[in-house]
Symmetry: D2
Subunit: 474 residues, 4 copies
Amino acid sequence: MTKDNTQDTTKSAGANALWGGRFSAGPSQLMEDVNASIHFDRRFFAQDIAGSMAHCSMLVAVGIITTDDGDAILEGLQTIQTEIAGGQLNVDPKLEDIHMHVETRLQELVGDVAGRLHTARSRNDQVATDFRLWIRGQIDDLDAGLKALQTALVDKADAHANTVMPGFTHLQVAQPVTFGHHMLAYFEMIERDRGRFQDCRTRLNESPLGSAALAGTSFPIDRIMTADALGFDRPTANSLDAVSDRDFVVEFLSAASLAAIHLSRLADEIVLWSSAQFGFIRLSDQYSTGSSIMPQKRNPDAAELCRAKVGRIIGAQNGLMMVLKGLPLAYSKDMQEDKELTFDAADTLSLCVAVMTGMIADMNVNTKAMAAAASAGHATATDLADWLVRALDIPFREAHHMTGRLVREADAQNCGLKDLALEIFIAVDGRISEEVYSVLSVENSVRSRNSLGGTSPDRVRVAVQSARTRLDKD
Amino acid sequence: MTKDNTQDTTKSAGANALWGGRFSAGPSQLMEDVNASIHFDRRFFAQDIAGSMAHCSMLVAVGIITTDDGDAILEGLQTIQTEIAGGQLNVDPKLEDIHMHVETRLQELVGDVAGRLHTARSRNDQVATDFRLWIRGQIDDLDAGLKALQTALVDKADAHANTVMPGFTHLQVAQPVTFGHHMLAYFEMIERDRGRFQDCRTRLNESPLGSAALAGTSFPIDRIMTADALGFDRPTANSLDAVSDRDFVVEFLSAASLAAIHLSRLADEIVLWSSAQFGFIRLSDQYSTGSSIMPQKRNPDAAELCRAKVGRIIGAQNGLMMVLKGLPLAYSKDMQEDKELTFDAADTLSLCVAVMTGMIADMNVNTKAMAAAASAGHATATDLADWLVRALDIPFREAHHMTGRLVREADAQNCGLKDLALEIFIAVDGRISEEVYSVLSVENSVRSRNSLGGTSPDRVRVAVQSARTRLDKD
Amino acid sequence: MTKDNTQDTTKSAGANALWGGRFSAGPSQLMEDVNASIHFDRRFFAQDIAGSMAHCSMLVAVGIITTDDGDAILEGLQTIQTEIAGGQLNVDPKLEDIHMHVETRLQELVGDVAGRLHTARSRNDQVATDFRLWIRGQIDDLDAGLKALQTALVDKADAHANTVMPGFTHLQVAQPVTFGHHMLAYFEMIERDRGRFQDCRTRLNESPLGSAALAGTSFPIDRIMTADALGFDRPTANSLDAVSDRDFVVEFLSAASLAAIHLSRLADEIVLWSSAQFGFIRLSDQYSTGSSIMPQKRNPDAAELCRAKVGRIIGAQNGLMMVLKGLPLAYSKDMQEDKELTFDAADTLSLCVAVMTGMIADMNVNTKAMAAAASAGHATATDLADWLVRALDIPFREAHHMTGRLVREADAQNCGLKDLALEIFIAVDGRISEEVYSVLSVENSVRSRNSLGGTSPDRVRVAVQSARTRLDKD
Amino acid sequence: MTKDNTQDTTKSAGANALWGGRFSAGPSQLMEDVNASIHFDRRFFAQDIAGSMAHCSMLVAVGIITTDDGDAILEGLQTIQTEIAGGQLNVDPKLEDIHMHVETRLQELVGDVAGRLHTARSRNDQVATDFRLWIRGQIDDLDAGLKALQTALVDKADAHANTVMPGFTHLQVAQPVTFGHHMLAYFEMIERDRGRFQDCRTRLNESPLGSAALAGTSFPIDRIMTADALGFDRPTANSLDAVSDRDFVVEFLSAASLAAIHLSRLADEIVLWSSAQFGFIRLSDQYSTGSSIMPQKRNPDAAELCRAKVGRIIGAQNGLMMVLKGLPLAYSKDMQEDKELTFDAADTLSLCVAVMTGMIADMNVNTKAMAAAASAGHATATDLADWLVRALDIPFREAHHMTGRLVREADAQNCGLKDLALEIFIAVDGRISEEVYSVLSVENSVRSRNSLGGTSPDRVRVAVQSARTRLDKD
């Protein structure tokens, strides 16, 4: 063993209380900076204490520690819970993480008996337990937030079941739709998001506690008891997997990424609709900002931020997958990188969902501008083609070509299809009658699209009722 | 309108048959290169034809087209199915995509009646239907592949329920575990992967057919009938959402990414284990390669490729999310970018799963090397600490510090804990007895870790049985 | 060594010619599928042969092989170059990669002397050399493409130095700008892209040839000679690094990602501008498509695809970084995953650049619609505020507030700022005179923004000249 | 305009001081949460004040404001600089960002004259200027850090120019190399990283100041003067581009990602080398941690964290590209998402570079373990093949096959190549002599690899000298 460094590493000051027994020198400041997690994992304090209380009660129940010791520990933990919830946490980076902060404070409060709490467990199963509990809580909170957003969308759809707007494909006016139908498209997306979060919740709801460092333990613990106490459905099946697994985090971030994409799509539409060129909506003052240099601006900053913040959420998901790629079992310190990314992504998504809910609820819809835009661009050309199919009993493809000729004619005359004289229609096919005009208005167009899932006001009203029923059930 | 370009755009040659009615000039070669999808979406031919047959039968059933026309179309579609399955597809980039290839061939086979098939539908709902069917099929295939991998893992676990190896944390020897237990950790990961794919399948199994371009249709179609015919659970609820939605692709790719991460972790371990330094396993010739310049090498190329290919799968997921970010409703051509990424990711994952299955099934385990490594590094130090807790009735933290001192002593003597003389133990605490040696062997150590989900051979055998039962049930 | 598998691995059929000497069984089909790279690395054939010729000439020059042998090999290589360029390459997956295909064909052509070519090199340095040469060529091609795009942008800017359009922030009309200025913003972005590709080219232009497998060689090779022959600036400095390094690929993909982002921003604007709501431009027929169901549509498919394809390029970059993360030195098979991602990204970017160039060159600008939009939305409010600062000698912040009041008044009257009566201005501040109206027209506004880099027609014309000079110099 | 919401939006309390003139209601708390940037952009305070001082001096120089006003503003700014540097910044989220905090404080200090500072500029060019200055500073700091890491690597290489270790490919022992050579491979990687950061610095070093909101300004500003004052090489050329451009951030993050990948590769090797199986190095106590449950562990936490943190850096890069994708010009609020990701990535990389430098400097090299490992696995097989080429004048491919047979023979005898009896060699080819043994020792092997860039101790010593010269020059 060649000694390359000339630093004196024999000084013993600052040896870490938890694992320092064997080390003769303390970690350097740099090491503390890169290693300590207390500045972020303190968010786990409630989960950590809940896990410790469940573990303690179980240790008593199976006789590993005495009732007296158990009571002392439980009381101490209760005190710490109250202290931290009240803002009293003396952060000491030397104590690395929330687990050590709680344990050290427990030692101060109840003395050496505190050391019995760490029997038959390890920080590896502790942190896995804490993180599952935390994400479970986040999912429950997010679900409430997403439901509120759905309610805002349904309310808007209800109020605008009849409001005609242009339906776009390729950002070209394609066919008229109702604004209510458009709002409900997002209801469906959020419904799927909620489903994905629930699936994630179901899958993660297993207790790693008792997996110890990686191999389980020789103490006669009762993992079902701690699982029950913490609201888990069952204990995890394999101790190596339990301490190595961060699937639940990736799955949570994947669901969050998709939800954020949905928000980004709606946000992009809000930005478009708020522009002078579209003029479909006007955001409330609550969700607009002005400009320091251009006093006339009403900037949709909130929508832009909802659109942009998908970046950091997907970045977090991507980053965590990068961390996990190629990691051998079982626990590696790499996995400590799972938390900050997730905290940020979860906070960001929660905020965006709330902001979007407010924007949707508050926004004013310019129904006239929407109707005017829906009438432009020959949006009823498909209606015409469909009418030709029915009236003339011709294949759709033939009707499509005939419609194309009529659109060109209208363009040449700089008018709408409904403004073409009947003889123009007849010139294309002698069988066309006055009746054709009935399908050329946007109101009739949307009314006719009455197929299941279609845009007609009747369908939208049914969909609103169905959505409200679904929301009530949850 | 300023005319900036000097190109003559009045020539009509090459106008696209499908939507060219209105255009006076044909698309340029570049446009064809960037726009055509037939070179990849031809993989959808079976799904596309199945969708068309279901649509056709429904059109007949509800009276939109006649039975005779329907029969002609169905027969034509059947012929095309046979032709393409037999390798006969005349690819013509001018026909852009698989939908147009089928439709054009149908026209050749049955004449103008082919044009009636496109009544009440659009390429937008057609491609959404095709893609859902395709992914559903991929999930079913992947599930079979993943199950085969699980079987290989369980078989290995069964054969090695007793095989002791070092359990690592931080790639440091931590505690002895059994190789069977280690294999079963991956069984659990794959089990979750299968669950995620099933959740994705359940969520995607709704029929977009009949959503038409974006707004539904005025024809009296029966979407439940086509949904049933294609094995979907129900029609989608909102036509705008149905043609804009690629959630199912992202969710599929997210599940694939996580599965690929699991493979990358196992692959990394295989590379480690195959090294001369570990020497835990020897890959079969089937899954090794040699070197052009170093004849002695047995390179774990297959494992390295399984480790690396997670990159392109995650890249595909990331790329598709990038595509969808901020896209306004409804269909945009951007969404055509969903297919190649997904095809490549699905093919890659399937191949990796199969390769990994073969590698696991074929690999030879060097039980002696594993056992030797498990004995090194004071791997039973935790057992000692646990014994001290029980025997001396002291808090774990105190036991931990005592163990630290004994480890340092063993290091100083350059021996294992079990080789320390009893007086050394007694010097640390006078209450330590001969019995301590019983917990210092790796065999006793693994045997003692009998907690639920723990590594003991008994637990592993139970877990193997439980795993086999689960596999049989599917 | 426990033999776990029951497969007979003693059969020797199909042993790989290159490294099979030691293996008693051939690789399975699965292994071939995952391992062979010939289906993609065949793109390297010209680079591979060039590298081999340089290596051969050097081996002769330093006396490692004879002139006769060298001549035979060179002639053989020349033949193979002609064959493959002419489409004659018999692909055999058993031969794995392009290196083996060339070597095997050489053996057929010139006999055993072919085996002398592999003296003092390895596939590790060979593939590193091939890939650098290939990317160098791609950069040169891309540079030409990007320059063509810049030329199209400058031409458009030249033609539209006077064309007034709304400048947007937050997609709200902010201040009038000239369309020429807007085009030149993209000129600047592409200029930076070209710079990044050039920096990448400079950094990668070192020859790994002669690094052999990883450690260099004991043969007295002349690496400077081969570097010169292949147009490299110098040999790489460290053999381990040279075979492990894929920085140049990541850097190329990073530059490509940023270029693709620029294209996506311009593409998004083209989609917006082509909408009925904006109506700023009309794409040529060459770069539009129609709809199968909506005959009136002119879809900006090419722009949408340019916007979307950033996804797969960034996905490729991300995927490759995932591959490289945590890879120990030196060569690992993981690195074979570098090629397909890169080929796809390079092809995609090249195509998008060409398509964008065509779209820009061909597009028709609706100057009237732009001018009308520029006049809306109080776009000259900042001009008013600036005028107040100058005319009344007040701080900008005060002028900003006064302007805000005038904008509100104009909104209340539903008119533009320039339509407000003078008394309205005077009511806000008695010192305001008739002269104020001079700054309220959009034409005067753009003309006044004459600061360096500003939007005034004069500045745009100067910038066009400067851009043309830069383009001529390259 | 339909009024959908029932909220009272007429209350005027809390209207934002900067842009509130036109708004009758204040932004909600949610809006403040999503919109305010002061909690992170406060890091720009020094850059922001420097920019303001340069702008102020220029306004005076060109006569836009008086010397007296200018002096008052400059003095005020100086005071604010001192205050904030001293920790006195009253954060008020209502003031949104650092620009407004400075401006508001300036107003308090010097009165209404403060409002003159915002003449001829906007927050859009202000923040672009601040961010460029900030990244420029980061690059300079990082360059110093990377240079220190290079120095540590060179020192280690110098000390170990003769230390033989196994060179790995596929983590299989391939050929012996020197540890010094291995260290220098990382020197080269870091050298390229520094080059990329310098290229980024050169490209970003243009001043956006004076681009104003997006269009330039009508005030007769002198952008060259402010550019000079702030150390920029020149002003940016296009005002629209200048406020829309975040290329420099993406390029910085791309360079950071690649640097982080290099660290992750070295970190992975450190983890491997620290394992009991490799035993090549022993990390100092400074850079190791223990285990709470396994007292014998010396965990390479610092290396694991350096390996993992590449995830968040690449996640940041990916996230920012996601933000920029498809953004229309000019400034959108989306771009505010550029900062937190970048701050985190920059801080993370800096910390990892410092930690890695410490780890390398401090680590103890077990030269015996390295040498022993290098001798295993027939690492000199290539040397044998090369010798056969030279001695028997046979093609390399033939030599390769002969070597393969000898390796199999050694395996069968369970010995090394150098332990095979001469008759074994002769049995393969009668021309083989005693001399063959000279190439079979690892020491001779490394000594012989004396090609440029090769691993021989002589080459390593030359490379160390060259590296030191390069480091001295910077």
